[in-house]
């Protein structure tokens, strides 16, 4: 098992490198001059050229990539053009906020999704199944930014129970796990949890139904196991696939939703990306994308390892 983990980590290296290259190129391929954002409209050619040299944009692309990668490996992702602050600290702060949102949303979404999915799978084609499936389809189909706005209208504007935007009473300051801060998290977390809830419900429903129709379940009953024991077998059989789906969903959520974070002004990576794009803040954009992409690589790695440790049929040798 340890050798398997080590091997998976080694395999991840070329993936990480290609991810870095794609991040770098994507930003450079997109049209638009990054200096437009910082230069005054009437700036002279010389000033523009000076700044270009200062930021290193005049160098050939491979050299720029090499330099960027070298610095990135040492933890320096450059400074934001718009704010002048180091990209890394900006990204870390935003990612921390997104992680808070994603984890809470995942707990809500996965708990409900697993519950609905298992119940629907066990009571296939009954009214219970139909209710759970309808909830799942609604969850996947509703545009989440629309749902977010509707929730704001109901709970913030009409009922005035919960704040509509921001991440705490002091604007976007330090996050604390108290009600004053948590109340800001409720609406975005519910909005974020809806899609994973739907997807997990559908996956687990299909899985449970499929496993229950397999021969070995009849064999388990034939050897006299109680339904609770049979249920345990069903869960263990469903776990690898369910975990893979949940890992992927958690990954999407950790990436941050530009739409949801913009609707709720949640100071996470989605909102950061949004402003970086609109301000043509190249270093910030590259840095954020890189960190998020690495996150995905890491997460997939974790899911693979978790799966291999549960399902003996996945080769570890």
């Amino acid at each position: 098992m340890l050798a398997y983990v080590a091997r998976r980590f080694v395999y991840a290296v070329p993936i990480v490198l290609s991810v870095a290259l794609v991040c770098f190129l994507l930003v450079h391929i997109t049209p638009g001059d990054p200096l437009v954002a910082v230069l005054p409209a009437d700036a002279s050619q010389e000033l523009a050229a000076q700044l270009r040299t200062a930021y290193g944009f005049d160098r050939p692309l491979p050299v720029q990539f090499g330099l960027w990668l070298w610095k990135a490996v040492h933890g320096d992702l450059g400074n934001s053009i718009a704010t002048g602050r180091p990209v890394l600290s900006e990204v870390i702060r935003a990612v921390a906020n997104t992680v808070t949102l994603a984890v809470v949303a995942a707990v809500i979404g996965f708990t409900l999704g697993l519950f609905f999915g298992i119940v629907a799978g066990y009571f296939r084609n009954t009214w219970i199944d139909k209710v759970a499936t309808s909830v799942a389809i609604a969850g996947v189909s509703l545009p989440h930014y629309w749902l977010g706005m509707v929730l704001v209208i109901i709970f913030s504007v009409q009922l005035n129970w919960l704040p509509a935007v921001g991440a705490g009473p002091g604007g976007s300051g330090e996050w604390k796990w108290d009600w004053a801060h948590l109340s800001y998290l409720v609406l975005p977390a519910i909005t974020t949890s809806v899609i994973p809830m739907g997807i997990v419900t559908r996956t687990v429903r299909a899985l449970t139904g499929d496993i229950l129709s397999q021969d070995f379940v009849e064999a388990l009953r034939a050897k006299g196991l109680s339904e609770t024991h049979v249920f345990r077998h069903v869960i263990k059989n469903a776990a690898p696939t369910a975990l893979a789906v949940m890992g992927l969903q958690l990954g999407y959520m950790l990436g941050g939703s530009i739409l949801i974070e913009t609707v709720f002004s949640w100071p996470g990576s989605g909102l950061l990306l949004n402003s970086a794009i609109f301000q043509r803040d190249l270093p910030l954009l590259q840095g954020t994308i890189l960190v998020l992409a690495l996150f995905f690589v890491f997460l997939n790695l974790m899911v693979d390892i978790a799966q291999a440790s549960i399902d003996p049929r996945i080769k570890r040798g």
């Binding site: 009849e218 064999a219 034939a222 549960i310």
Partner: protein
């Protein structure tokens, strides 16, 4: 009190989008230490009969009528708890596809010990010891190592041996075998049959062995019940049925084997196809395919005629046979 299993006038109907009368008035009994073969083609109701004995059929879509007594208990009256304690301990079952009947994510050892813990309340350690003992009983080589093996790490024959070890782990009185050799190679098939016969004697079990293969039945069965369209059309000792079948269906079956067939000559077949079972039969189900059918065959259900010597045939032709002549 010598009969371990007594089934009387069993009817099983599946409801749902389409109603299927899977079992129509089946009666049979099984003595202590006896091996009964249920012989018939696919869809004749062999497996359904077997599952009815353990009430393994899906509760919601199945209607069971009649009486099933196993080891002195009324199976149809057991509640869920009694039923699960009855399964695996009094009666256990082995399946056609060991690859599918074993849980793929549990080791063989876990799957066996689980049943032992459930039925005998043993500790994990004692149950694992029993699992090892059972793997040795079914002669799995390097049994100790196999305890930690997953089903996909074993060959088909090995898996079926493990399945047998699992089924026998709690020393059941009756073993139900649902075509346990059909999915195996011919050479492995005979090994498993020999093993089953040996274990049956060693454990003094009674066995109901479902198969569509007369050759397999010959290897293992004392007595055979031939099924057709959810009914038992003939019962008798294997010798009687193979030598002188009374009912035209087993006669046709025996005529269509490759034994004694000549090269270049067509095999004899039974014309037609089995009836659909969406209505309960009102006459002989085999009559449309029977060369000897008479008018009365389709008018009423042919009676089960006892021709003596424990032999029964559900056919009007059997009336002509004098019990003394057998």
């Amino acid at each position: 009190m010598t009969k371990l299993v007594e089934v009387e006038n069993l009817n099983v109907r599946f409801t749902g989008e389409r109603t299927v009368h899977a079992i129509n008035g089946v009666s049979f009994s099984l003595g202590e230490g006896e091996v009964l073969g249920l012989l018939g083609e696919s869809g004749s109701g062999k497996s359904v009969t077997l599952r009815a004995l353990m009430r393994l059929l899906p509760k919601k879509r199945t209607v069971i009528n009649g009486s099933i007594r196993v080891a002195g208990r009324d199976v149809l009256a057991l509640d869920d708890d009694e039923l699960s304690m009855f399964r695996g301990a009094t009666v256990s079952m082995i399946f056609q596809e060991p690859a599918l009947a074993l849980d793929p994510v549990y080791t063989i050892g876990q799957q066996i010990s689980e049943a032992v813990i459930r039925h005998e309340g043993k500790s994990q350690r004692e149950a694992t010891a029993r699992a090892l003992e059972m793997l040795e009983v079914v002669r799995i080589p390097s049994a100790k190592r196999r305890l930690d093996a997953y089903p996909h790490e074993m060959s088909g024959g090995m898996r079926q041996r493990a399945m047998i070890a699992l089924a026998l782990a709690c020393k059941p009185k009756i073993l139900l075998a649902d075509e346990p050799t059909t999915a195996l190679d011919a050479t492995v098939q005979i090994q498993i049959l020999l093993l089953l016969r040996e274990l049956q004697r060693e454990f003094g079990m009674s066995v109901i062995f479902v198969t569509h293969d007369i050759g397999v039945a010959i290897e293992i069965c004392d007595r055979v019940a031939v099924m057709y369209a959810g009914q038992i059309v003939e019962t008798g000792t294997l010798r009687q049925i193979v030598r002188s079948p009374l009912h035209p269906y087993p006669r046709g079956l025996l005529a269509s084997t490759t034994h004694g067939a000549k090269r270049g000559q067509r095999l004899e077949t039974i014309p037609g196809t089995p009836p659909s079972l969406d209505k309960a039969p009102t006459g002989c189900s085999f009559a449309p395919r029977c060369a000897l059918a008479e008018a009365r065959c389709t008018e009423a259900l042919p009676p089960a005629i006892d021709v003596g010597d424990g032999r029964m045939a559900r056919c009007v032709l059997a009336e002509r046979i004098q019990p003394a002549s057998v």
